[in-house]
Symmetry: C4
Subunit: 167 residues, 4 copies
């Protein structure tokens, strides 16, 4: 935990998975074949604030939903990568294209496809209800579940540390 | 708490935020770009009753949803201000236009944009799952979460005190 | 509780409120003005079974939703009264029209408009999260919340006692 | 529990009910008469992985929803039997048509119509919130509720035992 707090000083970029991190992991199945997802308004507030204060937010998800893209773009997030099977390649591309340093990146994921990209980043973190393997490699496990404020939790802690949290 | 009960005697106007107060903070993302919100039926019953018994209900929200407006108007609430970035200006306008006295106003909010308008009102209150800063400045923290009866809680307590609660 | 078990022997008719009893009290607000409600599949199974075994099920609700009517009719329930402001009149009409005896009726409600009709029936019962006044006049408070199995609870207990529960 | 672990070695086929097992038991009622169901993303991940690694997944449900079929087919599951009143006949047909051995089948159900087919299979299991009768005949009761990871739980345990779990 002390390790986490220390590493938090370096964070200027957040990478989030969608399902089970930005959402509560539920899929509402509609007759049209549409799968509606559920996000959290206080996570959204923190994401919007982080973008405004100059943090880079990157979204990498295996799922593919226009509704998710619309919501995240609306919060000011431009790097939204959906329908990604090989997350680590996408992450490496983002890093090299923007000259990012891995120590500056906090990654939050919840399931097996997140293992490889998580290991690449300065901070590996996860929601309270992440898969076993994910919890094992995370240096920070939020006390909030996916879709219930885990994203807000890591953003808020980081921005407070940097003196950037506030209205 | 004693302070809260005492101040409750003066309340004739309630100001509520929408997301995380009147809703559970969830956003259901639909393919059309629509963001569906979830409210609580027992909150609705209390709001309707308060309007009938002559209390003024004011809604001030940063979000903008026709569905929310439809629901709240249907409950008899006329002062529904949505898409508001600067909540304190809106509140001040409502106050001056209707010659309200701040001691008579109970405000319930859950996140940073509510801080300034909350401080203006006789009673600052919040749901059980409000942001840290909000809890700190609230003289009453409901044991109910947003969308799970926190609105009913403050309305019911007030109306009971005034002998106006009941079918 | 002993009183409840004893009175349960006489029950051949169940009266249920919709919002907060058959539903979890949530209203999902859609752009069209539609308010989607959420019911529970195991409640539905019990309702269907009760109808098949000859129990009378009566639904009386202040709300008015075609979706609710469709669902309940689909379970075999014919007496579905929606948009009712004066529940006790509706209940009295049902009773006289069908020559029912009040001792044979179990009523489950959750909020103020249910008080008067509840008092008329042999058993007054409610979900775990009912309003204070309702809990006070209920001889049985289910340990299940609205929309989470409270309806199943009272139907299952009754049918077990009568030796009619089972596939 | 030891019995369960031992029997798990033989499992090569999973049979799941839909409502209350693959879903959280909720039905969202829409004006069109549509009943939207809610599934879990981590269950879906496990189902997809099991199919890829050669396990047979069979779905038998009393309900009938195109949305459910679309979702399950999308995960690679072909044996999706919906609108089934007599589950045991369907299961027997699947068994004989594919020359399955009952000892190799794990069944997870939550309510009365699952009793007969459950008894036929090598392992009878259920979610944490299953009906009383189902819990009584289950040799394994998951600590996860329906729609909250009970399906993932049994698949993950089986595949770990077989050394097949992983990305």
């Amino acid at each position: 935990m002390e390790n986490f707090k220390q590493k938090l000083h370096n964070i200027s970029c957040f990478v989030f998975d969608v399902d089970g991190v930005l959402t509560d992991g539920s899929l509402i199945l509609l007759q049209t074949g549409e799968q509606a997802r559920t996000m959290n308004i206080r996570d959204g507030y923190a994401l919007q604030l982080a973008v405004k204060k100059g943090y880079r937010i990157v979204i990498i998800s295996g799922g593919k939903s226009e509704a998710v893209k619309t919501r995240l773009n609306g919060l000011g997030i431009e790097d939204v990568f959906l329908g990604i099977e090989d997350k680590i390649s996408t992450l490496k591309n983002v890093i090299s294209k923007n000259n990012l340093v891995t120590e500056n990146i906090l990654y939050m994921g919840d399931d097996l496809p997140d293992i490889a990209p998580m290991k690449l980043c300065g901070i590996a973190s996860c929601p309270a209800d992440a898969a076993t393997e994910i919890k094992e490699i995370s240096i920070y496990v939020s006390d909030k579940k996916g879709g219930e404020g885990c994203v807000r939790d890591v953003i808020e802690q980081t921005m407070r540390l940097h003196g950037k949290w506030g209205y």
